[in-house]
Amino acid sequence: MSVIEAINIHKVYNPDSDVPVHALRGIDLKIDEGEFTAIVGPSGSGKTTLLNIIGGLDRPSEGKIIIDNQDISTFKDNELIDFRQKNIGFVFQSYNLIPVLTARENIEFVMLLQKRTEQEREARVMELVTAVGLEDKIHKRPNQLSGGQQQRVAVARALASKPKFILADEPTANLDSASTTQLLDIMHQLNREEKITFIFSTHDQRVIDRAERVITIDDGKVVNDEIQN
């Protein structure tokens, strides 16, 4: 069953200028529930643009993004924010935790926005910190954590609201080898055990090697889409 369906997605930046930039040129894509998918391609190929459009952060110039039988490209701004909060988890290259909040508060943050009860939040936080192996770091602020630990908190934050899928933009770009392996292990485990769909944009061969499906984009088009064993 598809979680995300991208239909004929085009994205043109500065369409009315003399030099319009065609970032995406008719992408058709279906991502099924529980996939562990990497979107790869050279810099400027359109990976991040595609991820942004799938995540409702940007709008396509043409085409539709169907999530949960709804075309999110027609949503108003506030509807999109609300939709993202409930359905999508984001993991960014630079971790992007809120610096003034502790690890625990960062993980709790989206649940607070969703007005979850304290008991619910407590239970989910404990579940996630155990999953990412940071039980002893929950009261630390981001600047007291290593890069790998911060990214694990970011993954826990992304999962806190039990989203339909996680979009991770170059999540390992700033991590050393050991942290990358640890992070991928955690995400793979969550993918297998909780059937959470992960979609990465990446250059990192270690991520590509662990992905079950690799979609290659070049010049705004899907040039290869293969399932790996």
Partner: protein, 405 residues
């Protein structure tokens, strides 16, 4: 969470927060001190003037203040004399009968203001006996006169000389009499010093042929703050067809206009001060928005709506404003308290000029909590308005563009 986030965010860049809060604190300190000294100086001046002669309010026969004729006298009866008992805010009721008269001695004469007073009540109120420079103060049944020094000089009279007074008495009666000079008084105001003659109330009643009548009853209050209450109570108790109640503001409009002018000029100075501070705060907000555009993008991405994000940033600005205002108030309170106990004292010619008008040449600060609170409120309003900028910026912030910042 919004409150926690906002509170912690203000300490992210401690130095900037402290500098901004310090500039606000300095503004509040300056503004509160300026206002306190300005208010204190005016309160002192009004208090001096009021206690010098007029009182905080006066009761007259209806229409007296327009015509100021002795024909518009009224009975100093139990209802008026007992007002200090019936209205708790009134400290004292001071009866007077006054009109103009010609004073003559030998071949010299001069226009004078002859005031009949109850020597004890008047002394309690205006400390008239302290102004006696030669001779003695009046007794309640005295048939002598206290003459202002300047007037005595004009008429070339001294202690023991007999002054002839001539005027028109109550309802056209001829007022004439001889009064031995019992004492000389000195007023700082040259105008008063050239024209004042005091008689006892009984002596003046005989002179004006107005037994049992007075032209004014000056009211002294326990506290100046009770003026509105007192005048409204007086208006309720006394028949408006018979009496008029005038407070010192109505009786001294020039003084009030001068006060208003001074206050307005003070406000202009404060407005300029706050404008400068506002630019400082706005600079901080601009830097904060610029530095955190990326973070705002992230927060929008993960689902924090613009209203909540705007509220967080707004609260941060308000917290800095309040922090500065509180520090400013805490610093200014002891300073203002010190100047209220140890007023700035003028010296030299400036002091002489003030003394001429019967005003003590001091500038005490008014320790009035409303001054501090109003400054804090002003800062709150100012920062609230300035904090609209990040809210407006957030309304149109594109998360993707923000995360590229």
């Amino acid at each position: 969470m919004i409150w926690k986030l906002a509170w912690r965010n203000i300490f992210r860049n401690k130095r900037r927060t402290y500098i901004t809060a310090a500039s606000i604190a300095l503004a509040v300190l300056t503004a509160a001190s300026m206002r306190a000294i300005q208010k204190g100086a005016w309160d002192n001046m009004v208090d001096n003037v009021v206690k010098y002669y007029t009182g905080y309010a006066q009761i007259h026969a209806n229409g007296y203040w327009e015509d100021k004729t002795i024909d518009l006298s009224f009975a100093y009866d139990e209802q008026v004399s007992s007002l200090a008992t019936s209205i708790a805010s009134i400290d004292q009721v001071v009866p007077r009968i006054e009109s103009f008269a010609l004073a003559a001695y030998g071949n010299k004469s001069n226009g004078t203001l002859v005031v009949g007073v109850d020597p004890i009540e008047e002394d309690n109120f205006t400390n008239l006996s302290d102004k006696v420079t030669q001779g003695a103060y009046l007794d309640p049944k005295d048939d002598g006169a206290l003459v202002a020094e300047g007037l005595a000089e004009i008429l070339n009279v001294g202690l023991g000389d007999t002054l002839t007074l001539l005027s028109q008495g109550y309802h056209g009666a001829t007022a004439a009499g001889n009064y031995p000079i019992k004492g000389l008084v000195k007023f700082a105001s040259p105008q008063l010093n050239r024209q004042m003659i005091y008689l006892s109330l009984d002596g003046a009643s005989d002179f004006y042929d107005s037994q049992g009548l007075i032209t004014s009853a000056a009211i002294n209050l326990n506290s100046p703050d009770q003026l509105e209450l007192t005048t409204s109570l007086l208006k309720a108790q006394l028949d408006p067809k018979t009496y008029e109640i005038k407070d010192y503001r109505e009786m001294m409009p020039e003084l009030m206009q001068a006060k208003e002018l001074d206050i307005v000029s003070g406000y202009i100075t404060l407005a300029i001060l706050y404008l400068i501070i506002a630019f400082g705060i706005f600079g901080t907000i601009l830097m904060m928005v610029k530095e955190r555009t990326y973070e705002f993008g992230i927060l929008l991405s993960i689902g924090m709506n613009r209203a909540k994000l705007g509220m967080t940033v707004w609260l941060e600005t308000i917290f800095i404003g309040l922090l500065g205002a509180c520090i400013g108030i805490l610093i200014s309170m002891p300073i203002v308290a010190w100047f209220s106990i140890n007023p700035i004292r003028m010296t030299g010619e400036a002091a002489t000029a003030y003394e001429k008008f019967g005003v003590e040449p001091i500038f005490p600060a008014a320790f009035d909590i409303s001054i501090f609170l109003s400054q804090a409120f002003l800062v709150l309003i100012m920062t609230s308005i300035l904090a609209l900028y990040p809210i407006m910026t957030l309304q149109k912030l594109d998360p993707v563009q923000a995360m590229r910042a």
